[in-house]
């Protein structure tokens, strides 16, 4: 009987390749569950989960909440904008107060890198990182890899490119770790100003020419330019960025091969990807959203299995 090697999901970095495969296999079963006439299983009916969102989110929050409800967990939602955080309460105090209401699991998004790790060392609950600043977004990387695996089969030796704002992207870092653990080759493509220093030390290739990257890859993950995290200008204009790094139908047609296109959302249509590309058959953006629920059900289920009731 297989189980995860970790008790929290803080990042992909801490997971093994076996963990990734176990999550994917479990997600396969949950994908069947969410396509049944009644899309719910009673496994987690005695578990309470708190969704703590200290930063805005649409997709991730809804996807986690739906995954929890499909597993029959009780759910409480918290968003920082309407809370005592504004009155000066610390993170640990906020979470401990929530845990005092008998909560078993915390799913947290936070603007500070390392917030999930910090919390897991200080409170007595299972922590799932739903994005911590520019650090990691493990559930997104898992659903990206799962969606690719669904289209391409085993990712071993496959060429995957990540294009766009790597510097501010937690999706990029988690994706690099996940794809490498699954044996894929990873190439990053961005203007020099949007690439973190020393990123090549992770064993990825760097390219600044989008066309060369597209020629090389089997699939491309187009990242959003995260204007909200930019305190200074990283490129001259949005128009110039769109011309050099935006994915258009013309660029795809020049390739003479079909590549798979991912986007973690939200899309800036006309900037990193045009509407025609985003809505084309090559884009699997909506598959990613559907798979997101199955992947998150698998993560929650596998971590909940480690909350042994007899140990409480």
């Amino acid at each position: 009987m297989k189980t995860l090697s970790v008790n929290h999901l803080l990042g992909i970095k801490q997971l093994t390749a076996e963990d990734l495969h176990l999550i994917f296999e479990t997600a396969d079963h949950f994908k069947e569950v969410i396509n049944r006439p009644i899309k719910k299983v009673p496994s987690l009916r005695d578990i309470t989960i708190a969704n703590l969102f200290f930063e805005n989110s649409t997709r991730t929050k809804l996807s986690f909440e739906l995954a929890e409800k499909r597993l029959s967990a009780d759910v409480i939602n918290f968003s920082a904008s309407q809370s005592s955080v504004k009155k000066g309460e610390t993170l640990v105090d906020t979470v401990n107060n929530i845990l005092a209401m008998k909560v078993d699991m915390v799913i947290m998004r936070h603007p500070k890198p390392g917030a999930a790790q910090f919390l897991s060392e200080r409170v007595n609950a299972c922590i799932i990182n739903a994005g911590d600043g520019t650090h990691e977004h493990p559930s997104q990387a898992l659903l990206d890899a799962y969606s690719l695996r669904e289209k391409m089969g085993d990712l071993k030796g496959k060429r995957i490119a990540i294009v766009g704002d790597i510097l501010h992207s937690r999706v990029a870092l988690s994706n690099i770790f996940a794809l490498q653990k699954l044996g894929a080759q990873v190439k990053l493509c961005a203007p020099k100003s949007l690439l973190p220093q020393y990123i090549e030390s992770l064993g990825v290739e760097i390219e600044t020419d989008l066309m060369k990257t597209l020629q090389w890859c089997d699939a491309v993950n187009m990242l959003r330019v995260q204007n909200e995290r930019m305190e200074v200008k990283y490129f001259p204009s949005t128009r110039e960025y769109a011309m050099l790094y935006g994915l258009t139908m013309e660029k795809l047609e020049q390739l003479r091969k079909e590549i798979i296109i991912l986007h973690p959302g939200p899309i800036n249509r006309g900037v990193e990807i045009t509407s025609a590309v985003a809505d084309s058959d090559q884009a699997i953006i909506l598959d990613q959203v559907e798979n997101g629920v199955a992947i998150r059900m698998a993560i929650i289920y596998l971590l909940a299995a480690k909350l042994n009731i007899t140990a409480q």
């Binding site: 009987m1 297989k2 189980t3 296999e25 479990t26 396969d28 079963h29 069947e32 569950v33 049944r36 006439p37 009644i38 899309k39 719910k40 299983v41 009673p42 496994s43 987690l44 005695d46 597993l71 289920y301 909940a304 299995a305 909350l307 042994n308 009731i309 007899t310």
Partner: protein
Amino acid sequence: MPSKVLLSGAQLELLLHRLAWQLIENHQDFSNTVLVGLQPRGVILLEELMAIIKKEQPQGKLTFGKLDTTFFRDDFRRSTKIHTANSTEMEVQVENKKVVFIDDVLFTGRSIRAALTAINSYGRPESVELLVLVDRRFSRHLPIQPDYVGAQIDAFEGDRVRVNWEQQLQKSNVYLEEGNS
């Protein structure tokens, strides 16, 4: 662990034929019936029974599904053992159909309880029957009894009763592994 054979391949073959005929007797052409094998081991029994029924009724059409009950079990987080799910293949309508659950060994009845909940995700059957190859008597934790039984066996609680399926039915058998109790 010492083990002893309870049913030989030849006995198993006879039992399977009897069970198949009992199903035919009650369900005739199976037009309103869905046979549901419970994962993992009930599925093998389902396939064996369907092969016999098809031989007897070559023109008949059998509808069947494979149901996994892992996510409906009542022992999640209650034992150190973590159950790995198997695939569910239920591409059939069960609404207002006569469903027959098929499993190899009936022990505590908890898997059947889970299956009764799980099947409701696909609709409301007209009725649900239970067919088992081996019924371990006096070991039930729940008020669940089979409608079709291959053989009844008495065993101590710690013992394990297993069906060893081989490619050739003649080489298959049912055996008992004695536990420590």
